[in-house]
């Protein structure tokens, strides 16, 4: 591998990094507008983690119960524990109906109602008329909605012939001499060769980073690569203390058991057989917001009412639902339960426990998908050339807690929107990048670091550290220190332990120096991103001395709007924190003033 020579360069109008639902929706629009773009993905597009989304996508179609986007907006703001930006949430909910119909036109095989319209199911935290009756808003393709959407978007990209670099790994953003983002360095995983993709518009759609936790629903590819790149470029991450623990992961393993199970009538029960959600959310019970249900399960287990020999999980019971409904609406869940627990949920309840699922925080952006960062006077300024969408971004439409069914919506709404932003700019300014040299100094150093080899030691009893071992330690630290419940002491310990992880990461050497599918090197590069994200999480969480949404502190149990109705911005350098205001000014609707959140 030659790190000193020149890397080949290719020029594009725009780059889309990531080929999940967000990246593919964006690439589709850009290709349709006639721009020369490249979409880069470290896996073949249909392997992206959107494929694992189950329950559905929210839109106020009103196919089952009366609905309005304004009600969806209210539910999303309440669900976010008032940390979501109301202008962004308003935009997303307004776009929802049209963008879901567009997906249907793209071929998504949505389940259907008797009248031939898209099937919609009940999901947590959704109501009619600003908090009254349960709304049926989540459009579903059985319990495989993410798979159906991702494959349809890939198929549409085939139709238009989008240029896709699959199994290419994006390493770092490259800056122009003026400090603007001018492209990205990628590595072909097949042969280890590096290449510069240069463009005036680089969009990150790299997805989540659930791999920082040991118990998670996420794919092993979810290592927050875009977030690591942004931090290394000196830009901030927003609201990284907010991680969603999904109430119903397969106990001890983590695979997702969709909220759709409760939407179709499933009940959570403890070891005594009690349907305990009645106690925690008397009105909506099992369909409370995810943070509320996760805490309820954690409390039941902590207070000794868990099930099994170690009393460490609760039961999700659907045995009262007719088998034909399960076969039609929840076939994937039945499959997962049978495969991983040996349990047929038609007969026996599923063993579940909260597991890390979704990152509400991410790369701060505006509604147009442009990345923003504060200037010296604290004013939020657009970062020229850089965009972010989907789970890696923080617009923020999810605030402190995301509603089920809103992540698939987020990715397509802002995927399309960011593409329009880029397209309009391209039509005005063109994309000539000739003669602009990108700075490669930092990335060369980073790559050089992974060339380091271990001194061969004669003493075989010395355990040599490895990327895999460091990742395991990291995940353990985050599970213990920054889980469903948090306090000063455990997080302080986690922060301390992370510093040791950083030292290990700085010193670890690879054992494999081949170039073809070198997955150890890839894991090392990914680990750098995970460790950076773990620091962002713990530093942001330690500072926030309140409980809000998914950030639940035993030492500060109340929400404190006076002090903390604001977004956190974390910078890697010295783990510095800044804050910015929450947007409370939607364009077409009156402000939803923060009030106590009861379900």
């Amino acid at each position: 591998m030659n790190l000193s020579g020149n890397f080949p360069i290719e020029f594009y109008d725009a780059l889309v990094i990531g080929a999940g639902g967000a990246g593919m929706r964006c690439a589709l629009k850009l290709t349709e507008e006639g721009h020369k773009i490249a979409m880069v993905s470290k896996v073949f597009p249909t392997r992206s983690h959107t494929v694992a989304a189950q329950g559905g996508i929210n839109a106020a179609l009103g196919n089952v119960t009366p609905d309005k986007w304004q009600w969806h907006m209210y539910d999303t703001i309440k669900g976010s524990d008032y940390l979501g930006d109301q202008d962004a949430i308003e935009f997303m909910c307004q776009e929802a109906a049209e963008i879901v119909r567009e997906l249907e036109h793209f071929g998504v095989p949505f389940s259907r109602l008797e009248n031939g319209k898209i099937y919609q199911r009940a999901f947590g935290g959704q109501s009619q008329n600003y908090g009254e009756e349960q709304a049926y808003r989540t459009c579903a393709a059985a319990d495989r909605t993410g798979h159906a959407i991702l494959h349809s978007l890939y198929q549409q990209n085939i139709r238009l012939g989008t240029t896709i670099y699959d199994e290419y790994y994006a390493l770092d953003l490259l800056k122009t001499p003026k400090g603007e983002i001018g492209g990205i360095l990628v590595m072909n995983i097949h042969d280890g060769a590096y290449k510069i993709l240069q463009s005036p518009h680089t969009l990150l759609a790299t997805g989540g980073a659930g791999q920082v936790f040991r118990n998670n629903t996420n794919a092993s590819i979810n290592t927050g690569d875009g977030l690591g790149m942004v931090l290394r470029a000196g830009l901030p991450l927003q609201d990284m203390e907010f991680w969603q623990f999904h109430p119903t992961g397969v106990a001890g393993k983590g695979m997702l058991i969709s909220e759709a199970v409760r939407g179709e009538g499933g009940k959570l029960r403890n070891a005594l057989g009690d349907a305990f959600m009645e106690k925690y959310a008397p009105k909506v019970k099992d369909l409370a917001s995810r943070d509320v249900v996760s805490r309820a399960i954690a409390i039941e287990v902590k207070e000794g009412r868990g099930c099994g020999p170690d009393k460490d999980y609760v039961l999700l019971d659907i045995s009262h639902i007719p088998e034909e409904v399960i076969t039609e609406r929840l076939p994937g869940i039945r499959d997962i339960s049978q495969t991983f627990l040996g349990i047929d949920p038609v007969k026996e309840p599923i063993h579940v426990f909260p597991t890390c699922h979704y990152m509400m925080g991410g790369i701060p952006t505006n509604i147009q998908g442009q990345v923003v960062s504060p200037d010296d006077s604290g004013e939020q300024k657009v970062v020229p050339g850089l965009y972010a969408i989907g789970e890696c971004a923080c617009v923020s439409v999810h605030g402190a807690n995301r509603l089920g069914g809103n992540s698939l919506l987020d990715i397509v709404v802002f995927g399309r929107k960011a593409a329009l932003t880029i397209s309009e700019t391209l039509k005005l300014q063109g994309s000539n990048q000739n003669g602009i040299d990108l700075n490669l100094h930092t990335i060369r150093q980073r790559l050089q670091r992974w060339q380091k080899r271990n001194e061969v030691s004669a003493d075989t009893s010395v355990q040599i550290d490895s990327v895999i071992q460091i990742k395991k330690s990291l995940q353990q630290i985050m599970d213990t220190g920054c889980g469903v419940f948090r306090d000063q002491q455990t997080m302080q310990q986690a922060f301390h332990d992370l510093q040791e992880i950083q030292v290990r990461l700085d010193n670890v050497c690879l054992t494999d120096f081949n170039d073809v599918f070198n997955l150890e090197r890839l894991a090392g590069l990914e680990l750098e991103n995970l460790v950076a994200i773990a620091f962002a999480t713990v530093a942001s969480a330690l500072a926030r001395t309140e409980s809000r949404g998914a950030h639940s502190r035993v030492d500060y149990t109340e929400r404190d709007d006076q002090a903390w109705l604001k977004h956190t911005l974390y910078f890697q350098e010295e783990h510095r924190l800044e804050y910015k205001a929450v947007n409370l000014q939607p364009k077409h609707h009156a402000t939803f003033e923060p009030k106590p959140r009861v379900y």
């Binding site: 896996v43 992206s48 036109h105 139709r159 997702l256 994937g332 081949n514």
Partner: protein
């Protein structure tokens, strides 16, 4: 348990060879999947190459040939396997490294059947209507995860991967032929009506036998053939 794994690094090896790994049974638990074992083996040898991602059988990354049968390692329980497990890359496509194959031909066959909905133009204020019965016809085909287990176990595909579409692509083709929203049914059928495309399938059922999602490409191809006979 013993794992005999086909290894190949194009920078070093002329040909693939088998390497035997041992895993102490105490490291394994009763509910482990094959992928868990592979992860443990990778701790012994970080250069061991296989694809994997979702770890729950929906992304389709980790198809491999296990004791002679194509399977996804993440949903193959170790308890289903004997103490000696022989793992090879899925057959019929070029090997890139160890268990990782070059799937470009497989993807090209998929792209060639135009696997995207072609419907009446409709404004964004309306949904195409589709009855639950019409929608139910798509069950069993839209769930394909493109893992390649079927096509790489098909002798017709082994012989002519550049000509025969293979079961995965034909399943995708049939998914659009039967979708009530699609209006290109006849053109799709005509495009598929050739001795090397659809009719190279001899229904030996390897595809259906190996599908980790329990789909039945062989039956879908049979139905495609009878629709062709009736419609064109």
């Amino acid at each position: 348990m013993q794992f005999i794994i086909s290894r190949y690094n194009p920078q070093i090896d002329k040909d693939p060879y088998n390497q035997t790994f041992e895993l102490d049974n105490t490291l394994l638990s009763a509910d482990n999947m094959l992928l868990d074992a592979l992860h443990l083996l990778r701790e012994q040898d970080p250069s061991l190459a296989y694809r994997s991602s979702c770890q729950e059988g929906v992304c389709g990354s980790d198809g491999m040939n296990v004791n002679g049968r194509n399977r996804l390692s993440c949903i193959t329980p170790l308890s289903d396997l004997p103490q000696k497990v022989i793992i090879k890359p899925m057959p019929g496509l070029p090997i890139i490294k160890d268990l990782i194959i070059d799937m470009d031909l497989f993807y090209q066959q998929y792209k060639d059947v135009e696997p995207f909905l072609q419907s009446e133009p409709l404004d964004l204020q309306h949904e195409h209507l589709q009855s639950p019965e019409e929608r139910a016809k798509l069950d069993g085909s839209y769930e394909c995860i493109l893992c390649g287990c079927c096509s790489t176990s098909c002798p017709s595909f082994w012989w002519n991967p550049d000509q025969f579409a293979g079961p995965a692509a034909l399943l995708a083709a049939s998914r659009f032929v039967i979708d009530s929203r699609d209006i290109q049914t006849i053109d799709r059928l005509k495009d598929l009506d050739s001795p090397t495309q659809t009719f190279r399938c001899r229904h030996i059922q390897n595809c259906t036998d190996s599908c980790p999602k329990g789909l039945n490409p062989s039956r879908a191809i049979q139905e495609l053939k009878s629709t062709m006979v009736k419609e064109i």
